[in-house]
Symmetry: C2
Subunit: 358 residues, 2 copies
């Protein structure tokens, strides 16, 4: 049982606030269950750093991030600081690309006393996972500067890329996720979300899904077109368990689904590759409220729990899994007892009060 090393990128805006909150929660949870303390290697990166230095991450930072057992990221980007083509500062996209962080896991769970957007009472039981491929799809063009084809001031083209290699890994990951979920006694139907009616690339994505499904006859599967899935997420989201999809689709649908259960302040996210994983709240840097103790740290804290769970498997230190569970239970129990009342949900608790309460 050795201590795990975490590359910590706090980033911009409230990224800094919630990253600190998440590390505090992880530290406390580890101490509580007797897990080894995490070793942090802090790396400067983000739009603020770019403004000061002209680089979006400190020299050698990308390599150091890759050498840690996991990467934890607060949030990156400031709307006022952009590249010449109008896009924002996103070293995060390069990390996804470089370390092949293909499996973007975005759990969506309704907690008691957290806001419900849907009128139907069944929404109170919402508990699904969006699995967003995170290295290719439409983001292929965006992962590295210069991949977009700019034709004077007349036209821009970008490439959506679906490879067999990544798609196979993604779908295998999805079926393993379904298997784990079933073992925890939960319903675990896996839905392939695509636009196979229109795009050859998406029919290819679905074909590979079917190939991988043939190796997992015990898992119940389904299909949905992405537009119909968006509608179904507002009409009957409680019928879905795990949704696997292309990068851009996953970006949109995970925010949509996150919105159903309160908003981005609860949206945890893990991005897993073959050799490392990156963990981050799925929300942005919200510079308007940074440093004011207003941000809801729960997305970051729940992302830290996902990270601890990953570390347990990766380093073989089982106590990390118990630390993860301690955090998840604390959030669950905190909401149930109405002891978690983040300002984001109209409550009276700032970033640190929520963190302490957890």
């Amino acid at each position: 049982t050795s201590a795990a090393r975490i590359a910590l990128i706090k980033g911009d805006g409230i990224g800094i606030d919630v990253a600190e909150a998440a590390m505090e929660a992880a530290r406390t949870a580890c101490r509580h269950v007797g897990a080894p303390a995490l070793e942090l290697d802090e790396i400067q990166a983000g739009a603020g750093y770019f403004e000061r230095t002209g680089q979006d991450i400190e020299p050698g930072g990308e390599e150091r991030a890759g050498r840690a057992d996991a990467i934890f990221l607060g949030a990156i980007g400031l709307p006022a600081i952009r590249h010449a083509d109008g896009t924002e500062i996103s070293p995060h996209l390069r990390l996804r690309d470089r370390y092949g962080l293909y499996a973007g896991i975005r759990p969506v769970r309704a907690y008691p006393n957290a806001p419900q957007r849907l009128a139907d009472p069944r929404a109170a039981g919402l508990d699904l996972i969006i699995l967003r491929e995170s290295t290719e799809g439409l983001f292929y063009s965006a992962a590295a500067h210069g991949r977009a084809q700019v034709i004077g001031d007349d036209e821009v083209r970008e490439t959506l890329r679906i490879t067999r290699a990544t798609t196979e890994k993604l779908h295998r990951f999805a079926f393993r996720l379904a298997e784990k979920r079933r073992q925890r006694g939960k319903r675990a139907r896996l839905t392939c979300v695509d636009k196979a009616n229109v795009f050859t690339s998406m029919a290819f994505f679905r074909k590979i899904f079917d190939e991988v499904a043939a190796d997992h006859p015990q898992t119940q599967i389904g299909y949905n077109y992405v537009d119909a899935q968006a509608l179904d997420l507002v009409r009957r989201p409680w019928e879905f368990d795990i949704l696997v999809m292309e990068n851009m689709f996953g970006d949109i649908l995970s925010d949509l689904a996150g919105g159903l259960v309160g908003g981005m302040g609860m949206a945890a996210c893990a991005e897993i590759g073959d050799t490392t994983g990156l963990f981050q709240p799925a929300h942005g840097s919200a510079p308007d409220i940074m440093g004011q103790d207003k941000a809801n740290p729960l997305a970051a804290i729940l992302s830290a729990a996902l990270m601890l769970d990953y570390l347990a498997e990766k380093t073989g230190t089982a106590t990390y899994a118990r630390a993860a569970l301690a955090i998840e239970d604390a959030v669950e129990a905190g909401f149930a007892a109405n002891r978690l009342r983040p300002m984001e949900f109209g409550g009276d608790m700032g970033t640190w009060a929520v963190t302490q309460a957890v």
Copy 2:
């Protein structure tokens, strides 16, 4: 005041049912206000036609469609009938491409007594328009067979294409739409929905929005990233009036928004180009309920109203605008008096009963 000629493509599944219902409603409305009867030119097309003939539209059908004053389409596609690459039969995509039907208008309106998905009572006042560019964006690859780049069984690439020419037309259309809406006494803030933080093409889309906006200082504008917009559509949709966006984004968000106000059975759609327009309910062909008098015809009937409005401007026959209004008022009044109870919403009225009630 001459009679307008309509190219009628009923298509597949319930497309046939609802197209007939819509033509019946249009006929009645025209008679009622003294507008000239529509002349119909019926064109065979769709997945069923493809299965019988190997063609997705009858010979010369595409040309005849383009010569009419407008095209009315029921719904096309049957999941069991596909091209060799796995995609479905969609001559509709070719019509959009060939006739440059760039402006896809999808109104989203809450009617009294129709289902509300959101718990917040403000959702009862929902009244927004999604303007979906409908010829390029990611669908550029899909509009014509062979544009996707297939690399053996290893990879498929598609192209997202944003041109200045089309984007300028789209945004000008959006500002005109806002202007018209304001003149009818409604709030008309125009939001550019994109992913300019990540994609060069989307930053280009937004840049052109800003250029066009400079010519319309009287219109209030806003920006939103597409993922945040998906979230905002479940959190505070009542704050939006007109949303303009790329093709694929519009496909997803218009279904999502449609879901908020009951489902696709209310989702009317107009696709306008420089020389003609295509009108269709945005829902699919639902072959499982075809010919059973179960489909909700209101999306098709409201699409016919959009068509009559377009014909009034195009042919200079003002009575068509009154026919359009007659339909819209009938739907509004029908819901208000609970005289419209489609089966889709758990009501007792089939396709024809709803049509007669309107």
